[in-house]
């Protein structure tokens, strides 16, 4: 086994992991439509499947390597080619940037999630997208998405990661706007792309700063040079203000007060901006809810396996940079906790099944940010891991539900509205069970995967804090860094618990409204087959006639996809196996993946914690300590009491949802919405953040664009373009009169022209250039001409020095400062004509020195 696999330093299996999805995208993208559905399916599934198998193999050899090195930070490396060079560091050293990929403990796990969950989503999509006319295009994009995400994960340096980062941005744009005939979908794709661009700006800035301060862009190099980011010297700090080193004058002079931050904080905040864009956090989360405009498998892919986890991954990857700045760490935690609560409040009132899930993703990503922000990188990453399973499962279940609803309702919005669902567990037993399992995980039902990961985050948010990293560096010359306030831990904990409570409530609400109660979809769209059967049965009983036709009740997957109100529709039906099998697998992982990192000392081993320890060692040892200088024993004692908060959140949230939507059949919710219409509509309109952005950022941009457009129209188009065109046209009109088509007139004009040219050549043209020859000398050089002879009159008295014309083209002349003189140049040509030119020379008075 060992000998079959390549060596760790040239691990070419990475080429297979990366290359297969790219090949799939290429084949399906170029020849997909000619290949037919079966071949497209085989290519797409085969590509991701082989990639997954290769990933598993790579993971095993990594595990072997890790065992041999006794848990050190090990890497499988493959260098494809050398990409480019740049310069960086304070010495201006050359920084090579290679197309180099590596698998370490962190990227190994991510790679398994991406290819594994990605494969299940692909399998699901083969059936879900079966009737779509752009089948091949869809799978080409999907494979490209996996490829881009793998590049992002496996990249060994920031520029290469950026390639993948942009790649997933592009693919998300293509896939969200997959049904681009609908303008709203295309707009959603555009929104995702543009919101991500804002974040990319941050990432780019971070890259520039890193290469400047650490002199490297690959992970090892950044880790080695990271200490340069913290340096008390003024030259090592980033000047944030005044912008570009500008200097204000007059009344604005007070603005000159410089604002500097440490390079670590500047890099961290720039990276944070990038991560909030990709991982949909405040303030750049707005694209994610709209991203559900794409087909449901795409939503699952974006929300679970790829794309949004990229931000968390980057924070984990560069954890050793982030911990250098306690301020940035605190900001990450605050952004995370804030987003978790904020998104949860919106999710509570949404009615679109996918929208609720979208906001729940934002909220869960907030939890992950909170985890990594307090320095619990393993906990945050563990939540990425578990979230991949339960959110993929939830989205795919939602797809299955929508698929089923489509049997009855052919309107996309209505088919996704939970108010039209209810009681679906009767028709969709497998989907129902999977959804229930995934819901249990996300709301933190004890012992499910989500319970462990979320509880760990809550617990660590309370007990951990980031301190001045230089204490761990042992530097002699210390600088003061920002110290987070003491109350931040409990506040974060309380916010997160509240968010967890809301999570439990809205997820249970979604689950109960969808699968329990009575099906409310009968009254929408065409009359159902079942309803017709009931009517028929009633007539039959009244007539005491023959038995009803049992075959009609069978749901048919191949029902026609057009609205025909005349014929009755079918009841919702369970999805085919390609869709249910991924659901079951993901549901199983949602329930049981918690064993990989269980807290509370349930098992002696915490495999994931142990596995990732070498990756985060540098970061956590350096700066993460327990709150208020307590020790590990204090934290251990708090683990059970703090878990109570998470558990209570689960119990209260779930109980409340049960009471409202089952016991009281939604009456309390309705009453609350009626008594508090302002609050209800504010939440329903998502706090009107989109409108706020429209009114501020977008409006500002639009007015700028309008100004530019007005200038373009009035100045550039009107004056510069139209006026010049008018002048040319006018002169054309005048000159056209001369073009009368009569050959003799042309000939006559030619003769006139020749006469002018002849006169020009017949007369000599004296001309001269004057150059300073130094030493108070001037050098006068006459312009050359055919057959010219020259005669100079250097003193300008009208009498030439020599009577004969000669070939002397230059004249050297001495002139004292403050004096001036005329020089006459006479030129004679071959026809004997003579012309004279007078050249005035003057040397300015030299400035007298004021000694």
């Amino acid at each position: 086994m060992r000998s079959l696999l390549p060596s760790p330093n040239d691990y070419v299996l990475i080429a297979v992991i990366l290359g297969m999805p790219l090949l799939g995208a290429f084949v399906n993208g170029i020849w997909g439509n000619r290949l037919g559905k079966r071949a497209v399916r085989l290519m797409a599934l085969g590509a991701v499947g082989v990639s997954f198998v290769a990933s598993v193999l790579a993971f095993f050899s990594l595990a072997q390597l890790s065992n041999e090195d006794k848990g050190a930070h090990v890497k499988l490396v493959w260098t494809a080619w050398e990409w480019m060079h740049t310069t960086g560091g304070h010495g201006g050293a050359s920084v090579p940037i290679e197309a180099k990929f590596s698998i370490d403990q962190l990227s190994g796990v991510m790679m398994l999630i991406v290819t594994g969950v990605g494969f299940l989503i692909h399998l699901y999509a083969t059936s879900y997208m079966d009737t779509d006319k752009s089948y091949a295009r869809f799978f080409a994009y999907l494979n490209l998405f996996i490829f881009a995400m793998l590049v992002l994960i496996l990249a060994d340096n920031l520029p290469l990661l950026f390639v993948g980062w942009e790649g997933v941005g592009l693919c998300s744009y293509l896939l969200i706007g997959f049904w681009y005939e609908n303008a709203a979908n295309a707009a959603a794709g555009k929104k995702a792309f543009i919101a991500n661009r804002v974040g990319d700006f941050g990432l780019l800035c971070a890259m520039f700063l890193l290469v400047e301060y650490t002199g490297a862009l690959d992970w090892n190099g950044i880790a080695n040079g990271a200490t340069n980011l913290l340096h008390p010297g003024d030259a090592y700090r980033v000047h944030v203000w005044p912008l570009g080193g500008g200097h204000y004058q007059g009344v604005l002079a007070f603005l000159n007060h410089p604002v500097t931050v440490s390079a670590a904080t500047a890099v961290g905040m720039a990276l944070l901006l990038g991560c909030t864009g990709k991982s949909a956090q405040i303030p750049l989360y707005v694209w994610l809810p709209d991203a559900m405009a794409g087909p449901t498998p795409v939503s699952a892919l974006i929300h679970a396996a790829t794309m949004v986890t990229a931000g968390i991954y980057l924070i984990c990857r560069l954890s050793f940079v982030f911990v250098l700045s306690p301020f940035t760490m605190m900001m990450i935690a605050i952004v995370g906790a804030g987003t978790a609560l904020f998104a949860a409040t919106i999710a509570v009132v949404q009615n679109d099944i996918k929208k609720v899930l979208a906001y729940s993703t934002i909220s869960q990503l907030g939890f992950m940010f909170l985890g990594v922000g307090v320095g619990a990188f393993t906990a945050g990453f563990f939540h990425v891991f578990t979230h991949a399973f339960f959110k993929a499962c939830l989205f795919l279940c939602a797809g299955s539900v929508i698929h089923a609803m489509h049997a009855r309702i052919h309107d996309d919005d209505k088919a996704q509205d939970v108010r039209n669902m209810g009681g679906l567990r009767k028709w969709l037993p497998l989907t129902h069970l999977s959804f229930a399992a995934a819901t249990a995980a996300i709301i933190g039902f004890p012992l499910t995967s989500g319970f462990f990961s979320k509880d760990e985050i809550l617990y660590r948010a309370f007990v951990d804090r980031t301190v001045n990293p230089e204490d761990g560096l042992g530097l002699v010359q210390k600088m003061t860094t920002y110290a987070p306030p003491q109350w931040i831990g409990p506040v974060l904990y309380a916010t997160a618990v509240l968010a967890a409570l809301l999570t439990a409530f809205y997820m249970c609400r979604l689950y109960l409204l969808t699968f329990w109660g009575d099906f409310k979809g009968w009254s929408i769209g065409r009359p159902s087959l079942l309803a017709r059967r009931e009517v028929a049965a009633a007539q039959l009983t009244s007539a005491q006639a023959a038995e009803p036709d049992a075959d009609d009740a069978r749901a048919d997957a191949d029902h026609p996809h057009h609205e025909d109100l005349a014929t009755p529709g079918y009841p919702p039906h369970e999805s085919p196996w390609q869709m249910t099998v991924p659901l079951i697998i993901l549901a199983a992982f949602s329930l049981f993946a918690g064993v990989l990192d269980p807290g509370f000392g349930i098992f002696k081993e915490r495999p994931l914690d142990h596995w990732l320890e070498p990756v985060f060692k540098a970061a956590t040892e350096r700066a993460v300590v327990f709150e208020n200088g307590h020790d590990a024993a204090w934290a251990e004692h708090l683990e059970w009491p703090l878990a109570l908060g998470g558990f209570l959140a689960f119990v209260v949230g779930t109980g409340l949802a049960w009471w409202v939507y089952i016991a009281k059949r939604g009456a309390p919710a309705q009453r609350l919405a009626e008594t508090q219409p302002g609050l209800y509509h504010l939440l329903l309109d998502k706090w009107r953040i989109d409108e706020l952005y429209d009114a501020t950022v977008i409006a500002a941009l639009e007015s700028l664009a309008e100004t530019a457009s007005a200038v373009d129209k009035s100045l550039i188009d009107a004056v510069l373009a139209r006026l010049t065109a008018l002048l040319v046209a006018a002169s054309g009109t005048v000159l056209r009169a001369f073009q009368n088509g009569v050959v003799h007139v042309y000939a006559a004009m030619m003769v006139v022209g020749l006469a002018f040219a002849g006169w020009f050549f017949a007369v000599p043209h004296p001309n001269a250039t004057v150059a300073d020859a130094g030493n108070d000398d001037y050098l006068v050089t006459a312009a050359p001409g055919v057959g010219y002879a020259y005669r100079w009159d250097a003193d300008g008295d009208g009498k030439p020095e020599k009577q004969d014309f000669g070939g002397d083209t230059t004249l050297k002349l001495h002139l004292e400062p403050g004096k001036s003189q005329n020089v006459n140049l006479e030129v004679r040509n071959s026809f004997g004509l003579v012309r004279t030119k007078t050249i005035h020379l003057a040397r300015p008075q030299e400035p007298t020195s004021s000694l």
Partner: protein, 111 residues
């Protein structure tokens, strides 16, 4: 030996006759002929100058004796032949189009 100036004067006369003929005559065929006269005037000048250089020994610096002027005249004759061929073809086409060879009828290139 006849001095070169005589040839040059004759050449200038011929050139002026050709030029004036070109400008004042309306028959395209005569126009063409006038062009021929002008070209041959320049030929005459070339040959005459070359001959006078040789006579004064100015061509001795070159390898053998320089006959550039004469050779140039032959080239011009060849170019003339081509030009006349094209010119006559144009005249013929023009005649077919307008049933005339008067050049002031040829104003299709107007404006």
């Amino acid at each position: 030996m006849i001095p070169a100036e005589h040839y040059v004067v004759l050449s200038a006369l011929l050139f002026v006759i050709g030029g004036v003929g070109f400008l004042v005559r309306r028959n395209v065929l005569v126009t063409l002929m006038s062009i021929e006269v002008m070209l041959n005037a320049s030929n005459l000048a070339l040959v005459a100058f070359n001959r006078s250089r040789l006579a004064r020994g100015l061509g001795q610096n070159y390898v053998g004796q320089s006959h550039t002027g004469q050779v140039f005249a032959f080239f011009i004759i060849a170019a003339e032949a081509a030009e006349v061929a094209v010119g006559l073809a144009i005249v013929l086409a023009f005649y077919r189009l307008r049933r005339t060879v008067r050049s002031d009828e040829a104003d299709l290139l107007k404006n």
